[in-house]
């Protein structure tokens, strides 16, 4: 089966700094990975995904890095803004096994 873990339950950053949220997964055969953002009172919202044939993918202010050797996934947010404050989840596999979430708090 698949298990997904996150290294930090809460991450506090200063506005304008870069944020890095990490995720570890257990199944080396996993081939699809997604990051979601969940704001208070809302459902998870897709941020960015990556397939296992890639090791990096960039979006608007976000970058996902995939290290299949150590089964590690990270989400980098550039120039973090107060609106980025939320809980971030990594999810693995086409049937979405979610990690436990990291709360990102942005200090003005």
């Amino acid at each position: 089966g698949e298990s997904v873990g996150l290294h930090l339950p809460t991450l506090s950053v200063q506005e304008g700094d870069n944020s890095i949220i990490n995720c570890a997964y257990s199944n080396s055969a996993s081939d699809y990975f997604i990051w979601y953002k969940q704001e208070s009172g809302k459902g998870p919202q897709f941020i960015i995904d990556i397939r296992s044939n890639m090791d990096k993918r960039q979006g608007q202010r976000v970058t996902v890095l995939l290290n299949k050797t150590v089964k590690h996934l990270s989400l980098q947010i550039a120039a973090t803004q107060p609106g980025d404050s939320a809980v971030y989840f990594c999810a693995v596999g086409w049937t979405l096994t979610f990690g436990g979430g990291t709360r990102l708090m942005v200090k003005p």
Partner: protein, 113 residues
């Protein structure tokens, strides 16, 4: 314009009651899901369903049953509600082979008293 909509947003009910949560998606997706999010924010899949197959997470009690009147709807019916059923329930949908992962509804907060 809401892509995945769930009703009600809040549901407070007594133990032992039977309740339903409705979900509709207007994205034309072929698969729908129910997830449960506990108080620690952990998201766990309960069901996935398309017009061909219902996949049930074996840890879900049989008091929970999905009902799909058509491709755009997947309702969640819960019998004999228990205190431990209190959580936020999310409906989601996806298109096989599509991008952008799953689209989630805004959730239904169920409180059993």
């Amino acid at each position: 314009d809401t892509a995945v909509s769930q009703t009600p947003k809040y549901l407070v009910t007594q133990m032992g009651n039977d309740k339903s949560i409705k979900c509709e998606q207007n994205l034309g997706h072929d698969t729908m899901y129910w997830y449960k999010q506990d108080s620690k924010k952990f998201l766990k899949i309960m069901f996935s369903y398309n017009n061909k197959e219902l996949i049930i997470n074996e840890t879900v009690p049989n008091r929970f049953s999905p009902k799909s009147p058509d491709k755009a709807h997947l309702n969640l019916h819960i019998n004999s509600l228990e205190l431990g059923d209190s959580a936020v329930y999310f409906c989601a949908s996806s298109q096989e082979g599509g991008d952008y992962g799953y689209t989630f509804g805004s959730g239904t907060r169920l409180t059993v008293v």
